[in-house]
Amino acid sequence: MSAQNYSDPSVLVSAEWVHEHLNDPSVKVVESSGDALLYPMAHIPGAVKIDWHNDLQDQTVRDYIANDVFENLCQKNGISNDTTVVFYGDDNNWWACYAFWAFKLKGHTNCKILNGGRKYWVETAKLPTTPEVPSYPATSYKVPADLDWRELRVFREGVLEHVKASLPLVDVRSPKEYSGERTHMEGYPEEGVLRGGHIPGALSCPWSRAVGDDGRFKTAEELRAIYEQELHLKPTDDVVAYCRIGERSSLTWFVLKYLLGYQKVRNYDGSWTEWGNVVGVPIVKGALP
């Protein structure tokens, strides 16, 4: 990994590394995919499934699950406080990064991403998969008492202050979503927003640009060319990333924080589905910030 020159290469593991550690009791592989049928169809042997929506989100409040529910989720999946949790998934690991971020919110220390996700495992490495669902002895997982997520997550009031201070934001949605041409899909207006556009000053940089054709992250040099030469961000900047619900921007958050070593980068998980509907906040339409 060091060949890629990432700031913190320890957060990434290769498919080959995971394959060698399938029977390592200190490692738990977690699939978080957007397609809910992928895991039941076939997954990495021994992997458990943690669903970004059904498992990690509270079904009543728009928020992540409460600490005791998270403890229960980890306990039943055989995850202890000191377990190395390796996340992987479809869509170039965007949901895996979302689960990684949610685990960090709950204070889990040792989280890693399987570089390349499902795509690399199945198509390039051609490593085995199975439909067999494993079961593990329950653990006694506890969320740390001194939980502090403020360096990871920002709410809309914080974003408004960020905008007023002219600090950098990265909008990682598609260009059509950024410009405001598209607000929702036909037939599903309840998933949409009242207004199309972006947060004033936000730079457009679709999340998928950080990933190469085989599903693995681009090298640090390639990433710097995008975020530093093109977007003019600096590792010392205070950056907020957002998308539609905070999933795609988790991947950008991961890239900036760990692969490029940005000191302060937060994910705005309210994202456009909140900002585009909130009373009293400004938006910008069109292709420019």
Binding site: D35, P40, D90
Partner: protein, 141 residues
């Protein structure tokens, strides 16, 4: 106006518990017929379902009964593949009018929302919209 066959298949899915429904969808995903060779080279942006992250292509051509349609969906996109396969099986022999008037409600009626979650429905809506478009364009050509 859905076809009788599709209505039956959708009701069958809706009557299952969520676990069985996942298994049935996987069965549908496995049974989607391969894309006929004559369409293989036509897999370009103009025939792609743009709402889906995975490369999914739909084609239609005139047939003695009206219009026939075909799909190419990767094995690694089993939800869309299963849904496309359900639609394909349920609309064999359907008229152009039946195809172009397929309702977006079919996704909810099949009980897919509760197993897949709301946010995942965009791709399926995109498939249905694209299908109606290619069928009506082929019929009018």
């Amino acid at each position: 106006m859905p076809t009788t066959k599709l209505t039956e298949l959708v009701e069958e899915l809706a009557d299952c518990d969520p676990k069985e429904r996942i298994e049935m969808l996987l069965d549908y995903a496995r049974s989607l017929p391969a894309l006929p060779e004559r369409f293989a080279d036509l897999r370009g942006p103009e025939n792609r379902v743009e709402e889906c992250q995975s490369p999914i292509f739909l084609f239609a051509e005139k047939s003695p009964e009206g219009v026939s349609w075909f799909a190419d969906v990767p094995l690694e996109a089993p939800t869309v593949r299963g849904f496309v396969s359900l639609l394909w099986e349920g609309t064999q022999g359907a008229s152009v009018e039946q195809l172009t008037s397929l309702s977006y409600d079919v996704i909810g009626q099949a009980g897919l929302k509760e197993i897949l979650g709301m946010q995942r429905m965009n791709g399926l809506v995109g498939v249905l919209r694209r299908l109606k478009k290619v069928v009506s364009e082929t019929a009018a050509s």
